[in-house]
Subunit: 361 residues, 4 copies
Amino acid sequence: MSGNTFGKLFTVTTFGESHGVALGAIVDGCPPGLELSETDLQKELDRRRPGSSRHTTQRREPDQVRILSGVFEGVTTGTPIGLLIENTDQRSKDYGKIKDQFRPAHADYTYHHKYGVRDYRGGGRSSARETAMRVAAGAIAKKFLASHGIQVRGYMSQLGPIEIELRDWEAVDSNPFFCPDPQRLPELEEYMDQLRRDQDSVGAKITVMAEGLPPGLGEPIFDRLDADLAHGLMSINAVKGVEIGDGFGVVTQRGSEHRDEMTPEGFQSNHAGGVLGGISSGQTLIAHLALKPTSSITIPGRSIDVDGNSVEVVTKGRHDPCVGIRATPIAEAMMALTLMDHYLRHRAQNAEVEVATPRLR
Amino acid sequence: MSGNTFGKLFTVTTFGESHGVALGAIVDGCPPGLELSETDLQKELDRRRPGSSRHTTQRREPDQVRILSGVFEGVTTGTPIGLLIENTDQRSKDYGKIKDQFRPAHADYTYHHKYGVRDYRGGGRSSARETAMRVAAGAIAKKFLASHGIQVRGYMSQLGPIEIELRDWEAVDSNPFFCPDPQRLPELEEYMDQLRRDQDSVGAKITVMAEGLPPGLGEPIFDRLDADLAHGLMSINAVKGVEIGDGFGVVTQRGSEHRDEMTPEGFQSNHAGGVLGGISSGQTLIAHLALKPTSSITIPGRSIDVDGNSVEVVTKGRHDPCVGIRATPIAEAMMALTLMDHYLRHRAQNAEVEVATPRLR
Amino acid sequence: MSGNTFGKLFTVTTFGESHGVALGAIVDGCPPGLELSETDLQKELDRRRPGSSRHTTQRREPDQVRILSGVFEGVTTGTPIGLLIENTDQRSKDYGKIKDQFRPAHADYTYHHKYGVRDYRGGGRSSARETAMRVAAGAIAKKFLASHGIQVRGYMSQLGPIEIELRDWEAVDSNPFFCPDPQRLPELEEYMDQLRRDQDSVGAKITVMAEGLPPGLGEPIFDRLDADLAHGLMSINAVKGVEIGDGFGVVTQRGSEHRDEMTPEGFQSNHAGGVLGGISSGQTLIAHLALKPTSSITIPGRSIDVDGNSVEVVTKGRHDPCVGIRATPIAEAMMALTLMDHYLRHRAQNAEVEVATPRLR
Amino acid sequence: MSGNTFGKLFTVTTFGESHGVALGAIVDGCPPGLELSETDLQKELDRRRPGSSRHTTQRREPDQVRILSGVFEGVTTGTPIGLLIENTDQRSKDYGKIKDQFRPAHADYTYHHKYGVRDYRGGGRSSARETAMRVAAGAIAKKFLASHGIQVRGYMSQLGPIEIELRDWEAVDSNPFFCPDPQRLPELEEYMDQLRRDQDSVGAKITVMAEGLPPGLGEPIFDRLDADLAHGLMSINAVKGVEIGDGFGVVTQRGSEHRDEMTPEGFQSNHAGGVLGGISSGQTLIAHLALKPTSSITIPGRSIDVDGNSVEVVTKGRHDPCVGIRATPIAEAMMALTLMDHYLRHRAQNAEVEVATPRLR
């Protein structure tokens, strides 16, 4: 594949199939001296773990991560950090049909044409199970960033037709939806129950933010902070759109309305979402992402088999009716990895820069 | 900066400031044997050129590109292609205020904090003038792709509040808006005239497509075709959002509605926008991008200077009231560069793959 | 560290410390459809394994490698291949002194200054134990290359003062020295026995070759085949010199003597070692490397501790008196990885090139 | 080609053929605030310039370099630095035979097989003329390093059979050979005169050093300082061997002899050449390189043409009888570029490391 590495200085390379032996990652470039334990990673993995509510897949994986290298006596040593999660819940079953058929809107068809062979069990490499490693690696980035005053967090901002406002950061981790408005929970529960009765799935929107950023992160002109962030977020399974700040809202805005004016007290608005010219401004970095409805539904769909014949596909198994529900920790991870990489890149080139101009928020 | 290279196998590295001596690029990795002349590049540059209608900046640059290497006797040799455009219309003027002030919503403030010094003349490196080199390099990619049956093209799909439908590809290059619906032209003209009277600016939406793609382009899991495309498009000045296929529309879609069913006759719809699992499906690749209104307007805005003092900024000069108007060739260039890179990457790994399964469109 | 990846299209990223939990690697970019099993890798690992003769370290590691992903039903799938070797023979002992002292000619001092912290057990990341993963990954490259008619192999060409000529490829794998001249074995045995009595160590020279190469591999001007090969070989622990073809012998050669003339029957000599202008010529690729004597000897040496105080260091433990003895499989691996990467890079750019000119050997 | 970039954080990408329009380079990643002018670059280019003595090619190129971007008001801005040298002395001549014949020991044959087409005029891209851009880019690295207390310099240590010792750094730049021992100059002159009478060429050895390095540069395990340096030096035209420190001399050394002992007063020797475990130790970094005799001689040689027919080749034109004579500035440039890249990489990851242990020299 040769596309399994993310980052340039702080690099994450992953491997692993849904129903293979194990998932793993190598995190290279982590500064030495960072306190790190498996608990730091497990905490984030548990947020993403399936089977924690009736609204997500019932596949039960403990997703127990082990650190195999790069940490000695409780701190990182600057050498590569090997991570491993063994797959334990690989139900053996009859894959006869899946093997030769392409589920509509899945990667089956494209993997088949690209590689000629594919591990069809549970989607193989194309399964969202792969994102566990992003979350584990992202936890390392999050911890480093936090130790430098930068906080990355996210929430679900829309589930199907239900738009959700950010009312309470504290609420996010206390419900299975990463919903930041506790009053909307009954509505969400009800919607999901109906969806399950319909045997259908639905899309979602996630919002992620980083606060406490210094100005200066991002490398114009191609490796802008927003461009690299778009890369990272769009690489998450099922994501079909990425916005920075006001996103597609800017299409109808006037310049006099969009521009974020500055006074000695700070920025007067944040339409830009914390990035100007591809470089962080010091304001809160804001991104939104759109996730499509999972295609693994039991409503029959038309497709073809490897010989090109017409077939009807019914996807059984344990699937998330809304992949967006578990996507918040993954989006946070990708934002954290992007920022971590740019944090290191920035100081490589600009360590000597000193500016007397006050920083605005 | 060290972020001035795009691509992994087909790489484009650029340099140049708005009011510097010249803009240039090195295109590395172009296959040998491709017929190529300066005319091929100039054709695309002329589409992007400013000053061609009253709705764009009146800066008049011939933007004459020269090929300095890598082409011999009319064909590429496989060696790096050096490109150069000399800046000719650099009006000398008094930059006294711009030097020490930060224009709101510009990169002035972030460049200042990142680098300590900056070429403030015309925005320096952060000027959209840099995109001329993307268009020149993209023309090479377009030509190679075209010789392999792949066509990349785009159009303006929204200007401020005016949504535009794709009615006639032929019309796109015959009006200054890249508008694919000739009937909407009077409305667009009128809107722009009013905007200029308001001394304001507005956002826009661009749509780009690639037809004739083989299935298989894209490298999961991080260098997916859609992720790399999002990177490329988001790296264009003023872009704040990127969508693949239905984009943010997927948030409210049901799985039964979103999935593109397949029959032996082909795909039955294209909600996915031509990408499944990060790999091209062979359907038309579709992306949309949102461009913010230019911040260079003459309506006074509040800002600060390098000492942190409050100032009022009025941006004079020759600016596009809607940067989206000239963005279509740039978006096409970034899509072409992304596809070119993945075309080469794909055949590096998968040259031996042979699949008997019929390809669908 | 962020320097733990080798290759650009066929990439190998490794992790692991000498006395940590495990060693691992991710091989990304392997073409799909290659038959591959753990046996293929184990065969090469067993050639490098310590403890197989009295002339190498008595550390006994089975070095049992597991393939964790990327192979399905006996063939590679094009997805990343995860490899793991668990460390089993980590004798617990008192590291009190090693922790705070720098062994002369080891990486102790430089790791300490670079990272501030280090895993001092058995040399940590700087131990040659890390090369096991290179050999495992190299086995994949070797197998792919072999299936395309390219054979990579090597031998010991000098041990201390004893120069060895290539007389019999068959002999190489039948003695612990990778010596290609069976008649020299008694001399080598005797030399090593005396060395052990002296409690000292000695350097060695290794020669590696690749036969069956097509012309065209290598990417001028910086990623020449010889330059990338020098990178790979010099990255092996203890290597202090790399030669291509006649190497340092060219200094005293005349042009009329050095140039390899061509006739329709083929090249008339191979002073160049199979590379012209950084590109493979189709002749046998030949490289030599010099390995320094291991610094882990029991003869006391002067050094300092972390506070800068003078100390006397005696390195105990299980060490190779000549690291060169086990270096042949490692050198072969690095040559194979280099060739593999360039094989893929070449066809990415030049797949369409057809040349009627006959290929010479 | 896609191999025309050197470095990871401080990157140099070059273009240009021997007899094309121009040579150029883009230097990306230079820290802002460095005072830089064309004079800084020209000074180094003039050291490499041909035609400055009767012992080098009589091609007369002023090699006037222009800085096109990235420098504003006398200092670097952190944006990419565009460099250009226009070719002025491209004698038009009849290339009839060269076009279809392969000069022995040149890149003609390999370029032909790799790319199918080639710019045969003066060797095209494979000409050593390309190294002018390395020297120009290297001058930027040298200046940055010098401002951080690091000095890179080199000399010719052997010309054919004449070995030269380092006796006087001052002498190096006052003779056309970069010879550090003024007493050997008559011998060198005499040897070269005889060589010219013989119409032959000869090899040479160059030594380069860096003093004032901090400990810590280099990224194990693949991007070791010595490995990346070997890559850089081996990528220079005609180089066939690279040594670090004692190089191939280590083959016959004992461990007790090779190891560089440390006392509070400093290292007691420097067999390692300033690198331990792939990381700079703070001692002088020392490398040697072997350059083959140029193959462009007028003594007739056997070869083939593009149809595989036997031909006799006589290389006329203006060629260096010893390419090693002008190689010292090029080798310095490659060492400077390597160090510059690692200087930035080191501080990216290890900016927070503080070590109380005294640094030794």
